[in-house]
């Protein structure tokens, strides 16, 4: 088997290679160490502040298409790498406790193309979506379980705009787990009696309407959820989506948000890889801990 960075985590759970339902990580958690490095590269080159920066933006889209942007070596990212593995393991463990054992596409697993969409590079996105859809069809996929809100948004809301008769059912794992709250509660091995403040993701709440699910799952794990001022449909952004280009602005957005959260609790729950990477930067400096829901699931099961 070809070894690619995004399949490393899957050695443990040994998920089947084919099946009607697949777990689609879309490499989002696995990309975290690489995204950080790429961001540094771009910020130092400052292509976006020049007058001809626009061309650079389009080229960036091209490079993502070819995956070149994430083929770079990662730097000092062991922690993030092990964190992202734990998250994905936690999610698969929790799914298996409710009797769900999805397939995984391993080295064939595609990226959703969400950055291209955000940048308005619709011509590239169309090409990419068609490619991904054909790949899913080749694998006979009928249902996708996503682990991050951006991928779920793309596959659920955007892909059908480009594909006639789009017939793949798309769900976020939080939706599936929350439909099985009782079973989850029964098989919880370790109750995580603690208070956490929750940071909702913009896409998860305002685009997908997935709000109460994280709360009911947390309750099943014994967690007490505290709500910040800006929460649920009024949640505030972590700043992540523009980090590739506007680092200073991102930092201001994320500082504002992390302060709001840290004032309520030192333990913070997030449910999105982009929020995780942007908010966990402040762990040392502020003496806080940012947990992805997947890590908590790993602790509990």
């Amino acid at each position: 088997m070809k070894t690619v960075y995004w399949t490393e985590w899957a050695r443990g759970p040994n998920l089947p290679r084919s099946g009607k339902t697949v777990l689609l990580t879309a490499r989002m958690y696995q990309m975290l160490p690489y995204i950080m490095q790429v961001t540094g590269l771009i910020a130092s080159a400052k292509p976006f502040v020049s007058r001809s920066g626009f061309g650079a933006m389009v080229n960036l889209g091209n490079r993502i298409m070819g995956d070149k942007i994430i083929r770079l070596k990662s730097l000092g990212s062991k922690n993030i790498r092990s964190k992202s593995k734990k998250i994905l393991l936690g999610i698969t463990n929790a799914l298996s406790t409710i009797g769900q054992r999805p397939a995984y596409l391993y080295e064939d697993e595609p990226y959703s193309g969400v950055l291209l969409y955000d940048l308005g590079l619709d011509e590239y996105i169309e090409e990419h979506i068609v490619k991904v859809y054909r790949l899913l069809k080749r694998h006979n996929v009928k249902k996708v379980i996503g682990v991050d809100p951006h991928t779920v948004f793309m596959l659920k809301e955007i892909y059908p705009r480009y594909i006639e008769d789009y017939d793949i059912e798309v769900k976020h794992y939080l939706e599936i787990l929350s439909e099985n709250d009782e079973a989850l509660k029964k098989s919880c091995k370790k109750s995580l009696e603690n208070e956490f403040v929750i940071h909702d993701s913009c896409y998860m709440t305002r685009e997908l309407g997935i709000i109460e699910q994280a709360r009911s799952i947390s309750a099943s794990l014994g967690i007490t959820i505290l709500e910040p001022g800006n929460t649920k449909l009024d949640t505030a952004c972590c700043g992540g989506p523009i980090e590739y280009a506007f680092r200073d602005l991102t930092e201001k957005v994320s500082t504002t948000r992390i302060q709001e959260l840290a004032n309520i609790s030192k333990n913070i729950i997030v449910e999105c890889p982009i929020c995780l990477i942007n908010l966990s930067k402040y762990e040392k400096e502020m003496g806080i801990k940012v947990w992805d829901m997947g890590e908590l699931l790993l602790e509990a099961f």
Partner: protein, 115 residues
């Protein structure tokens, strides 16, 4: 990308931007505007104005103001408070569509099609 599609997108954008009532409720809630310390072109309302002036030719695509469009986080907070009536597209979608217009060279500027 044909001229016709460019024209259609420009018309859609102008029509939708025309529904804005300039209430500015979207301005204060925008995280990018807050982070940019209250510079109005970094707000949703400001971005719509920039788009409008790009389309009618007052601004060209090489203008530094255009970068404000790319500072949008696509977070959708503006959509929650927007008071425009009868919109077909939400504010954040208009901003995204504006980026598409730019990436296709459908507004005035170097190497762009004439509007």
């Amino acid at each position: 990308m044909g001229v016709d599609q460019g024209q259609a997108i420009r018309e859609t954008l102008l029509k939708e931007i025309g529904k804005c009532r300039a209430c500015r409720f979207c301005v204060d809630v925008c995280p990018a505007y807050q982070a940019a310390e209250w510079v109005e072109n970094m707000s949703p309302y400001g971005r719509l104005q920039i788009l409008k002036y790009l389309i009618n030719g007052t601004l060209n695509k090489d203008d530094p103001l255009v970068y404000s469009l790319y500072t949008c986080l696509q977070c959708g907070r503006c959509n929650r408070v927007c008071q425009a009536k009868g919109q077909d597209l939400e504010v954040s979608n208009l901003v995204r569509l504006g980026k598409y217009l730019l990436s296709q060279g459908l507004v005035k500027g170097k190497k762009s099609e004439k509007v």
